[in-house]
C-alpha cells in the first residue's frame, strides 16, 4: 500500500497536482482511485465522467461527474483533461530488443533449432519466453500513452508466435497477458519468388489440418511423413482451426488477393500487417472480416509493393467496413503511436475511429476484450492527457496500468534530469 501511495504521488501529484484529500490510507481492500470530472474519450465520443478504479479494474464510470470519493480512494482532478484507455500497438518488438544493431540484445529472430532446415518455418517458437519486462524501452514507450503491445518475432516465412504484454511490472508473469496471441507470417518481396512463400504457408496450414485429424495414426508412426516438422504442425493447429489469428505481413494488393484466394473457405482468422495497398482490395477484406494493421505514415513507394500507397488508406478501409489498427512496426519508435493515429485523421479518418484503432479494435481482434476500453469490469489501463491525445502539444499527465499509478519516468527522463544543467552537477 505504501508503494502504491508513493507511486501515486510521483505519477500524478507531480503533474496533475491533484492527489488531494485522499484521507488516511485504507488498510484493507484493493487500491482505489477516483478520476473526477474528466472528459472520457473513446469511439463513442466525449463526455464528462467520474471514473472509479478499484484493484486492477475499472469499477464504475459515472456520467454525473463530481461525485464524492469513496473512503480510501485517491482523488485525481480530471477537469479539463482527457481520459482514454491505454493505447495498444499490435505489432512491436518491445521487450525483445534493446539496441537493434547489437545482436546480443536482439531476440526477435526465432531461428528454430529443431525445425525445417530451410529456416522458413518457425511456427513452434514462443517469443514470450525471451521477453524482458525491464527493458529501457518499456518506460520510454508508456510515457507516450502506450500501455499494451504485441511483441512479434521476425524471420522466415512463418516467423513464430507473438504475445500480448501490458507495459507494467518487472516480471514476465505480471506483464504478459496472453502467449501466444497470434501466429506470424510474411509475404512480399524476397530472394525466391513470392509464390514459394505462399506455398510454404499453404502446405504448412494444410498439413496442420491433416495432422489434426490424424494425430493418433501419427503417434503410431502410421502416417506418411509430413513435410512440416511436427512441432510446427502442433503450433499451427489452432491457427488452422481459426482459434489463433494469423498475422501476415504484406503490402501489395495482388499479394493480399492471393492470400485471400489461397485461404478461401478455411476458418483462418487473418490479419494483414503493413497493407500499404490494402485500400485497393478493401471490399474483399471487409467481406472476409480481415482486419488490417497499418502505418498511416507510409506514403511513398519505399518498394514496388507500395506504389499505390496513399495517406487515406485507413480512411478508405474503415469506410468499407474493415477493422483498422495502427502500428509503428517498431521497437524504439513505438512511442510514436499517437502521432500515427493523428496522421490517419489528417488523412481523412474520423477521430473516433482513429481512437478505436489504437484501443478497442486491437483488443477485440486479438481476443483481449477487457482491454482497450474504459468501462466497468475492464482492465484499468488508463491515460490522462492534457488535451487531444493525438495532438503533438498534448502531454501525458497520468498513467495507470492494471489500476496502479505508474510514475512518469524512464531512463530518458533520468538522462534529461542529470543534464538539465551542463556540465552536470
Amino acid at each position: 500500500m505504501n508503494a502504491l501511495r508513493l507511486s501515486s504521488l510521483l505519477g500524478v501529484a507531480l503533474t496533475a497536482g491533484a492527489a488531494q484529500g485522499a484521507g488516511p490510507p485504507s488498510t484493507a481492500g484493493p487500491p482505489c482511485a477516483l478520476i473526477r470530472g474528466v472528459t472520457l474519450s473513446d469511439g463513442a465520443g466525449d463526455r464528462v465522467v467520474d471514473v472509479v478504479v478499484r484493484g486492477d479494474r475499472v469499477a464504475a464510470v459515472r456520467i454525473l461527474a463530481g461525485g464524492e470519493p469513496e473512503p480510501g480512494c485517491d482523488v485525481i482532478a480530471g477537469a479539463g483533461r482527457v481520459l482514454t484507455a491505454g493505447l495498444v500497438d499490435p505489432y512491436t518488438r518491445l521487450g525483445l530488443v534493446e539496441v537493434d544493431l547489437e545482436a546480443p540484445t536482439v531476440d526477435t529472430d526465432l531461428r528454430a533449432p529443431f525445425q525445417d532446415p530451410s529456416g522458413q518455418i518457425r511456427a513452434s517458437v514462443r517469443a514470450d519466453l525471451a521477453y524482458n519486462p525491464r527493458s529501457s524501452l518499456i518506460g520510454v514507450t508508456r510515457l507516450e500513452g502506450v500501455t499494451s503491445a504485441i511483441s512479434v518475432p521476425s524471420g522466415g516465412v512463418i516467423s513464430g508466435r507473438s504475445f500480448w504484454v501490458d507495459l507494467v511490472g518487472a516480471r514476465q508473469g505480471t506483464a504478459i497477458q496472453r502467449a501466444p496471441v497470434a501466429m506470424h507470417a510474411s509475404l512480399g518481396p524476397r530472394q525466391e519468388s513470392r509464390a514459394s512463400a505462399f506455398q510454404t504457408i499453404d502446405v504448412a496450414l494444410r498439413e496442420a489440418r491433416d495432422f489434426a485429424t490424424r494425430q493418433r495414426e501419427w503417434a503410431k508412426n502410421q502416417t506418411p511423413g509430413f513435410l512440416t516438422p511436427r512441432l510446427d504442425l502442433a503450433a499451427l493447429l489452432p491457427v488452422a482451426k481459426g482459434e489463433l489469428p494469423l498475422v501476415v505481413t504484406v503490402d501489395r494488393a495482388s499479394d493480399i488477393e492471393g492470400l485471400l484466394r489461397m485461404t478461401a473457405g478455411t476458418p483462418l482468422r487473418l490479419v494483414i500487417a503493413g497493407g500499404a495497398e490494402a485500400w485497393l482490395v478493401r471490399d474483399a477484406l471487409a467481406q472476409r472480416k480481415v482486419a488490417v494493421i497499418l502505418d498511416p505514415l507510409t506514403y511513398g513507394p519505399g518498394s514496388f509493393d507500395q506504389l499505390a500507397a496513399r495517406p487515406d488508406n485507413a480512411a478508405l478501409l474503415h469506410a468499407a467496413g474493415v477493422a483498422v489498427m495502427f502500428s509503428t512496426f517498431s521497437s524504439h519508435g513505438a512511442r510514436k503511436l499517437r502521432q500515427l493515429a493523428g496522421n490517419a485523421v489528417r488523412g481523412g479518418l474520423s477521430h473516433a475511429a482513429a481512437l478505436d484503432a489504437v484501443t478497442r479494435v486491437p483488443a477485440e481482434v486479438f481476443g483481449l476484450a477487457d482491454h482497450g476500453r474504459v468501462a466497468p469490469g475492464a482492465i484499468a489501463d488508463l491515460v490522462l492527457w492534457s488535451g487531444d491525445p493525438f495532438e503533438l502539444s498534448t502531454r501525458v499527465e497520468g498513467l495507470w496500468i492494471h489500476g496502479r499509478s505508474v510514475p512518469l519516468t524512464s531512463r530518458q527522463t533520468a538522462l534529461r534530469d542529470r543534464y538539465r544543467h551542463v556540465p552536470p552537477r
Binding site: 513507394p301 495532438e391 503533438l392 530518458q412
Partner: protein
C-alpha cells in the same frame, strides 16, 4: 563579420595551424568581397558548370492576405500579408497589404511560413523504391572518398522529392551516406522539378562535405582494412586533413592551369579553407569532442553535427563555437551510440543559445518536418524550456538555411528573400496540418486541391487505381 568568419576566428584563436590566407566567405547573404577567385576557386567554378540550364522562371506578382504569418525572425503577423514579386518577397507585415500586387489570395484561417529546409536528406541518392539499382548513397569502397559528389548520383526522378515538397519542404541537402570517414560532397537542391541535379542546385549554395565518426565507419571497414575502432576513425580524419594541408601548401601560388587535379584533395582543401561546409555524422558527445580536437588541429571548421543525439550533454561547448546541432525529435536506440538520445535535445540546445535543427535522414520523416519540430517543442516545454513557436519554426527553416550557407536567400520571411513559402491549412505545429500550397521562387509547385501528374517519371502511367 559574418558568422562563418566569427567561427573561423574562433578556430584560429585556438592555435590551429591552418594554411588559410583569408577568412572563408561561405555565406552568399554576407558575401560582399569582390576579390578575384583564387586558383582553387576557379577550379571549383569550372567543376560546377552546368550542362542543363536551370529553370529561370520565377513566380509573382501575388499577395497572400488574411492568414497568420510566421516569419522565423521572431515576428508573427496575425493576420498579416506577404507580397511576392519577381520570385522574391517584396513586402510583408501585419494587417492588410498597403500596396498589394497581382492576385490577392485570401488565406484567412491559414498559416504562412517559410519553406521548410532539410539539412540532412538522402533523397535522390537513396531513392525510392529502395532497390539495388537506386542505391547510390555510400561509395563504400574506401574510408576516404572525398572525391565523390552526391550530385553525380542524385536521381531527380526520386518520387520522394515530390512527397517532401508536399510536406512543405522547399530546399534540402542531399548527402552521401555515413559508411565512410569522409563520404564526399553533399549538394543543396531547390525543390523544383528538373531533368538533372545540376539544374536543381540551389543557386550559389556552397557544397557540403560529409564526414562521419563513431560506429558506421568502423563497422563497414573493420573487416576491410580498417578503421576498426574509434581510434582508427580519428586517425583517418587527421591523416586526410594532413594530406590536404600539404597539398594546399604544395599548390600555393600556382595558377589554376598549373594545379595537378586531385579530386580528393580538392574537396578536402575546400573543407579546410571553409569554401565547402563540413557536416559531421556524430552521435555521441565524446565522439563530437574527439572530432573537434582533430578539426582544431588542422583548422577545419565544423558547420554542424548531424544525428547529434548526445549534443545535449555538450550543448554549452557547441553553442559557444556556433556549431549547429541537427537531429531528430525522438529517434533513439537503434544502435549503441544512439542509446542516450532524449526528446529534449533540440530544446536544450536552443536554450543554451545554439543552433538547433530538425533533420529527417528519412524519406518518411521529411514529409512531416513540421510535426517533428512540434514534438521537440512540446518535449522542451514540458521540461521547462521557454520556447516560442517561432523558435521551433527556425529549427526547420532559418537554422538549417544557416548551416547550408543560404540564410541570406531563404529560411525566413524577409523582404528581398526568395519567395519560398508554405500555406498551411492550420497551425503547422498541429498533427492535422497540411501544406495546401507550396511556393518555390514564388512559383506554386504544390497545390493539394489540384489533381496533377506525378513529378516522377517512375510513377507516371503506373496502375495504382481501382
Amino acid at each position: 563579420m559574418s558568422r562563418a568568419a566569427v567561427q573561423w576566428a574562433a578556430v584560429l584563436a585556438l592555435g590551429a595551424a591552418g594554411c588559410v590566407t583569408r577568412p572563408a566567405t561561405v555565406d552568399p547573404g554576407a558575401t560582399s568581397d569582390p576579390a578575384a577567385p583564387t586558383p582553387l576557386e576557379a577550379l571549383e567554378a569550372r567543376a560546377h558548370a552546368s550542362v542543363e540550364a536551370p529553370d529561370a522562371r520565377v513566380g509573382g506578382p501575388f499577395t497572400l492576405e488574411g492568414g497568420t504569418v510566421l516569419t522565423a525572425t521572431g515576428e508573427r503577423y496575425a493576420p498579416g500579408y506577404v507580397v511576392v514579386e519577381g520570385g522574391r518577397i517584396e513586402a510583408l507585415g501585419a494587417g492588410k497589404a498597403p500596396a498589394p500586387k497581382g492576385t490577392v489570395l485570401d488565406v484567412a484561417g491559414r498559416f504562412v511560413t517559410p519553406g521548410l529546409i532539410d539539412v540532412h536528406s538522402h533523397l535522390g541518392v537513396m531513392a525510392s523504391p529502395h532497390l539495388r539499382g537506386s542505391d547510390d548513397v555510400n561509395e563504400a569502397t574506401a574510408p576516404n572518398t572525398a572525391q565523390v559528389w552526391a550530385e553525380h548520383g542524385f536521381w531527380p526522378q526520386d518520387p520522394g522529392l515530390e512527397r517532401a515538397a508536399r510536406g512543405g519542404v522547399t530546399t534540402l541537402q542531399a548527402l552521401p551516406g555515413s559508411a565512410n570517414l569522409i563520404g564526399g560532397r553533399g549538394v543543396t537542391v531547390h525543390l523544383r522539378p528538373a531533368r538533372g541535379a545540376r539544374a536543381m542546385r540551389f543557386p550559389g549554395a556552397p557544397d557540403g562535405v560529409k564526414m562521419a565518426c563513431g560506429e558506421n565507419p568502423k563497422r563497414v571497414y573493420g573487416g576491410k582494412g580498417g578503421p576498426s575502432t574509434r581510434m582508427g576513425n580519428i586517425a583517418g580524419h587527421r591523416a586526410a586533413f594532413a594530406d590536404a594541408q600539404k597539398w594546399l601548401r604544395d599548390n600555393k601560388g600556382k595558377a589554376a592551369a598549373e594545379v595537378a587535379r586531385d579530386l580528393k584533395m580538392e574537396t578536402l582543401a575546400a573543407a579546410l579553407e571553409g569554401r565547402a561546409l563540413v557536416h559531421v555524422h556524430c552521435y555521441r558527445a565524446d565522439d563530437m569532442l574527439a572530432f573537434l580536437a582533430a578539426a582544431d588541429e588542422f583548422g577545419v571548421a565544423v558547420k554542424a553535427f548531424h544525428h547529434a543525439l548526445e549534443a545535449y550533454k555538450i550543448r554549452d561547448i557547441l553553442a559557444a563555437r556556433h556549431i549547429a546541432v541537427a537531429t531528430w525529435a525522438d529517434w533513439w536506440g537503434f544502435k549503441l551510440e544512439a542509446y542516450d538520445g532524449i526528446p529534449e535535445t533540440l530544446a536544450f540546445v536552443a536554450e543554451a543559445g545554439g543552433d538547433a535543427i530538425v533533420h529527417s535522414d528519412s524519406g518518411e520523416g521529411i514529409q512531416r518536418l513540421n510535426q517533428e519540430a512540434a514534438k521537440a517543442l512540446a518535449s522542451g516545454r514540458a521540461a521547462g524550456v521557454k520556447l516560442t513557436d517561432d523558435d521551433a519554426l527556425r529549427w526547420v527553416t532559418l537554422n538549417p538555411a544557416r548551416a547550408l550557407g543560404i540564410d541570406g536567400e531563404v529560411g525566413s520571411l524577409e523582404v528581398g528573400k526568395r519567395a519560398d513559402l508554405v500555406v498551411w491549412d492550420r497551425d503547422p505545429f498541429s498533427v492535422y496540418a497540411r501544406a495546401r500550397w507550396v511556393y518555390v521562387d514564388g512559383l506554386r509547385v504544390i497545390d493539394v486541391d489540384a489533381s496533377s501528374a506525378p513529378w516522377s517519371d517512375l510513377e507516371l502511367g503506373q496502375e495504382v487505381g481501382e
